[in-house]
Amino acid sequence: MRGGLGMTEEKCLEIAVRAVEEAQKKGAELSESYVSHSKQLYINVREGDVETVKVTDETGLAVRLIKDKKMGFVFTTALNYESIQQIIEQALHNAAKTSADEYNILPWPSNEYPSLNVYDPRISEVSVEEKIEIAKEIERVGRAYDPRIKVTESCTYQDAVYVSALANSRGIAVSYSGTLAGATSYFVAEENGESQTGFGLEFGVTYNAVQPGKIGEEGAAKAVRMLGAKSMPTQKTVAVFDPYIVTNFLDILAPAVCADAVQKNKSLLAGKIGQKVASELITIVDDGRMAGGIMSSPFDGEGVKTGTTTVIRNGVLEHYLYNTYTAAKEGCCSTGNGIRSSSYKGTPEVDTTNFYLEPGKVSQAELLKDVHKGIYITEVMGMHTANPISGDFSVGVSGLLIENGELTTPVRGVAIAGNILELFRSVDCVANDLRFFVGKGAPTIRVGSITVSGS
């Protein structure tokens, strides 16, 4: 048994296998069961003291079954025999009312699952007290960074230890254990009655991923450099996007490369395989088995082995991402992207794993050097309102002016608008500073001309 968990991999898998047997007995033609068990810790520190300690213990089971080419789905957090019987009957009942679809199938076992290490035993071994000290250290570093850092919004440490088990009636019976650890800092800098915020964060699969000094300093530095920010006149100008902002744009692009959206006419990249859709400097990869990747796992939410898919290579759209259903529809293979983004509470849908823009060759300083005048964008507001189907976005931004290759005065209260494909088409430089923010990664990029709406 792996340390710190109430339910072992073996136990979770046993429950999943038994649920599949029950579903088959009750008349399902194909059935699948997913069991997830996790323990999480969340610590929030402010003003040198613990504000919140949260400890969670969660177990859930999902059943997906197919009868007469119709699919039903149910979940429960009650894992006793009666409850499982009851939800299987509900699933059959739900299935009967859905539309028949010949592509409703479940996968066969994969020939070989990648061997990955996404489990760090230290996360269960280290005491809560030591983890509280990490959060306090983040705050100390941030507050000491500059006297104008006057308020801590929050400094957090969080981790998780989890087990995922999956079984289906075609013979899949797989499980794995994983860990996550991360920390964040949110500070407020104040000067002359003005307040500005900044954040720092880092997440990884190992305990060592959390470096308090770096996270504390990042949040404080970002807050301080925004003091004195003003709007700028409406104009067309050069824009440089911080890696974090680029990952925000990747969030908008991601649904467009998922086969589900493509097949349903909801993707702006539908029918464009083999076509140039972005600048030749753009190569985007989805890697479900990346070493140390927070979204890495040996198998996806349907029990299919994870893979590495180059989605856009040198600006040319090469491949979409598939789960079992969308692959069956096109007569191709699942890319291992059937993701249960809401764990046991939802069906496995096509989604990204570790999704990143490959780094270029120049440093960020070299990328900035050629910019006579422009804006370096470090924060966006309202990105969740961007439209992933049309690719249109219109967001509030803040950042720093670039003058003669140098970052100068802070800017806020301006907006940019455009289309995500236009943006990736007009990228004229990609730096080498690839950085991951949870499941998305990107380096700094530069765009030749964009409309900035301001005063």
């Binding site: 009650a78 006419n265 909801k266 309102t385 049309s390 209260g413 005063s455």
Partner: protein, 463 residues
Amino acid sequence: MLTERELEKVLYAALGKGGDFADIYIERKDANGITCESDKIEKIHSGIDYGAGIRVVFQERTAYAYTNNVTLEGLLDAAVIVSKAVNSGKSSDVTISLSKKEVKDVSPVKYLPGDIPVEDKVALVERGNAVARAYDNRVRQVTVAYGDNISDITVVNSEGLFVQGTRIRTRMICSVVVSSGGIIQTGFESGGGTAGFEFFLNSTTPEEICRNAAARAVLMLDSRPAPAGRMAVVMAAEAGGTMIHEACGHGMEADLVQKGLSVYAGKTGEKVASDVVTVVDDATVPNKYGSFSFDDEGTVSQKKVLIEKGVLKTYMYDYLTAQRDKRPSTGNGRRESFRHKPIPRMTNTYIAPGEYDPQEIVAKTKRGLFVKKMGGGQVNTTNGDFVFDVSEGYLIENGKVTAPVRGATLTGNGPEVLRIIDMVGGDLGWGIGTCGKDGQGVPVSDAQPTVRIPEIVVGGILE
């Protein structure tokens, strides 16, 4: 279900290593969802989400644990975990005696979703889908999703509070994709309430929701990019209340105020908005999406005037922030589920209707943007900067609403906008949404009359 004595035992265990206050929140949510896409009933989902969260407060520290094992044993385990996290160094000498309080239901339900056969819900979805599909030949995809849930909630605390109740919510969303000549546009509409199946018979029909979504998408196909720069903006009542939610609501949540993270901190009794602005948060409006009888800490729901004729009256409080300010909670302690500790949140928030005829407001605006429907938004409460998306907008030229525009966002500063709003209409329009804060999403509704902001930054494209 656990007995009163058992719940008392768990509270004692939670306070076993000291603490000022403890509570238990038990929730069982039975949810159902139906999705129609590509002209097919693609998914019918059901789920049972059952768990309990235990909280102990000691001075400024909160310890929280939750479990899916809702038995005396499971809750005692969780109670021991929270008590260890508090570890005040001395035990608590509190005496706990639960006494059940009946709370009046503010959202009566006529037809329980659980009593409605699945086929009737499927039929509702299919009706909506048919209307959206038939609206225009440029419609490429229609997604209609129906959802209902029944939550049975029990809250007990170490002060003896014991309340139980049921919340029932139903909703429908429709998203339409249209394309023509290589341009893709989308339209979205939603409707829902703290109500039963009657919601779709009385208030808003599936046909209405889906027709609006399709019409909006088609209109955007024929629209030009929004202009960029500073201009006057008139927001229609039917635009929904995203602006007031973002520009003002979040900054009046007491936790942000107390942490010094709000531009409205220390401004009670001060003028923070123009005379024509009155802002209300009211969880007692029957059957609205953000309504409830008691909040997630067991406090009976209330109507609060946050800003009265421009003057800041009160913030929104939960138990903990109210304790700090030595006053009662306003019944704004909410949580997404048993997985989260309660924090101050909005419920149904609106700008109260004013005196102007909505048409007169447009007529008095020479040039600007008319916002008929807002999308989502976001605010930085620390400096008050906000942004929100315009999902249906038009130009105003010489006092008349003219050509539709797409891709506009409004970027502004909350306090500044509230100070300059110069006309408020006599109408009132509601919208629903899921508000996100600290990783927790809760159902809310917002409303506003037609209002005019004389000058705000519109993010668009410079031609």
